[in-house]
Amino acid sequence: MKFQSAILSETTGLIILSILGALWVFIGYLWGKKAKNLDGYMLAGRKVGLALGSATAMATWVTSNTTMLAPQFALQLGIWGMLAYSTASVGLFLFAPMAKRIKNLMPHGITSGDFIMKRYGKKVWTVFLLISLFYSVTWLISMAMAGGILLNTISGIPYGVGMSVILLVCVLYTLFGGMYAVIGTDFIQSIIILIGTVLVGIAVLGEIEIGQVYNNLKEFKPSLISVMLPAAIIALFNNLLFGVGEIFHSNVWWSRAFAMEKGVGQKAYTLAAFFWFPIPIAAGFIALASGTLNINVVSPDMVGPLIASHILGQVGAVVVFIVIFSSLASSIDSLLAATSDLLAEDIYRKILNKQASEQTLRKAAAIIIAGLGIVTWLFCLPKIGTLASVLFFAGPMVGSTIFPILLGLFWPSASPTGALWAMLLGTAIGLTAYFMIGWYSASLVGTAISMVVMFAFTWFKPDQYIWATLTTKDFSK
């Protein structure tokens, strides 16, 4: 066999899947009753407090990638790789003061697209929307696909069944409850993720000694504990900037900033970053222990579940199953909600129906959630295993949006022409680096080019933006 066999029986997997699925839909339905108007449905009434705010940010950022890709980074790039992945928390730290600024500047804003349209105009908004939609849809598809693959690998549940159930559950509760349901379920899911990760971490530390891991790595994989591994050194800031780009531009994070009560955003994002930071380090360390435990790794992204079940047996496999299901659901629901908001507000209201009432817009958002679910399901059906790697293409794209957004929020001199060229050139040259040097350099190069272009235009062709423009209630044009 090329791939490791299932570590949990299919029946057990299906029972857990059914119980968790029913629980999420029920909670979503209950919480969804609170959504009385458009603000309630899209932004949870803009009254999300600190506990729910931090939990939703943390849970959304713990994706299938955290449980799959963080161990992969450690196995590929060693100690540096482990640190590189955990730098994704820097994005949350840096977004914290931005969340405060966003809420102050745009008290009535709904999406990140609203900001770009008002701040830079239609041309930049079009490029930004293309980047953002490419990123969101690819992330959504890759995560649903990863869900099907993971559930199949862990429990033998057929790929089509696992993928369809996880997607259906998320679509149902997001559809019923909008942002209320997403944030409510995220809170419970974040607790499950934290407890599960701590349990597995303690079990691994009880089973092996750090000295043994070090000796094994020194003998068989010496470069993983070396500080002088070129690809890993390059990857450190590359991954940091990829994470920053993802968070700065994506409506997943902007919608949460709008949804939180005034004064809550900065604290909530900082807390979420603190809680998230150790998770990839724990997952990465588990991966580095695979050699000491005599576990052959066929596919590096499956190393976390493998080791957990190896040490904790069936209990470990059940814990891993629940943690993975929760981390997948907490990200898929957020993406469904944020992407449907973006499509409803930025495409439907700004282009198709400028006179749309609140009720029409809410209906449109619900239809878009269902439509997104169906489109994602259709894309996932063929099980194109390589599609997840397409997400890495998004690295330079989202990297190129960092400085246009950052300077656009704080400097009135940041110009639309600069933002346009920063995004276009950053994306193009970043993608070239992807192929010429490697995936671990693309976001870094994309961000660097975009930064230089943005500063050059701000210096030579400064704008004089009036901040009051952003306080408007009407973002339909």
Binding site: M1, K2, F3, Q4, L75, Q76, L77, G78, V90, L94, P97, M98, K100, R101, N104, L217, F220, K221, P222, S223, L224, I225, L229, P230, A231, A232, I233, I234, L236, F237, N238, L240, L241, V244, N296, V297, V298, S299, P300, I402, L406, L407, L409, F410, W411, I437, G438, Y440, S441, L444, V445, T447, A448, M451
Partner: protein
């Protein structure tokens, strides 16, 4: 017991012994010739970052022999399974392509292994099938050479310094911007 019957018994024993000897002499080499293992992909592959996934498959070369998954065209390679009593042995040598300092890095039924943390230079791999007692069932495969050629240090440090500079600027813009906002808010209030 007559002398004739003793002779017949002797001839029978002699005949059986010869048969056993012939079996030992020919069957084992035949088994070696029939089962083979080979790596997938090119014989030499480069790995800029020191990691690579090695894949291999086994074949039964005797057309009259039992069908194995590898000679059934419709069966995908990933589903190849070894008979219960067999397993793969993967060896690595970082110094000699003759495998004079070979170390076994994997024993088991997986037809692939993700290798990482390889240092700059050439690394040689070979794989074979062994039985439960560790006796070889197939000869060693052709060697696979993994050439690890790290990125140049100039490029590495340029990109690292670029990343560090961007990060510094990013933080500076945010801190200064946030402070300005705070002071303007306190002025307003």
């Amino acid at each position: 017991m007559t002398i004739i019957s003793i002779k017949i018994k002797f001839i029978k024993i002699l005949y059986s012994t010869i048969l056993i000897l012939l079996t030992l002499l020919f069957i084992k080499p035949l088994a070696h010739a029939a089962i083979s293992v080979s790596f997938s992909g090119a014989q030499e592959e480069s790995a800029k970052a020191g990691y690579l996934q090695l894949e291999w498959h086994w074949q039964h070369q005797n057309p009259n022999g039992p069908k194995t998954p590898s000679n059934q065209d419709s069966e995908p390679q990933s589903k190849q399974t070894l008979p219960q009593k067999w397993k793969y042995q993967l060896q690595r040598d970082d110094r000699s392509e003759e495998f004079q300092h070979a170390t076994t890095v994997y024993r088991g039924k997986d037809a692939a292994s993700f290798v990482s943390g390889l240092s700059d230079g050439k690394h040689y791999y070979r794989v074979r099938i062994i039985d439960t007692k560790g006796q070889s069932v197939s000869p060693w495969s052709e060697k696979k050479t993994v050439v690890v050629d790290y990125h140049s240090w100039t490029l590495t440090w340029i990109l690292f310094a670029t990343g560090a500079t961007i990060f510094f600027i990013l933080v500076a813009v945010l801190v200064i911007g946030s402070r300005k906002e705070k002071s303007s808010q306190s002025e307003q209030s």
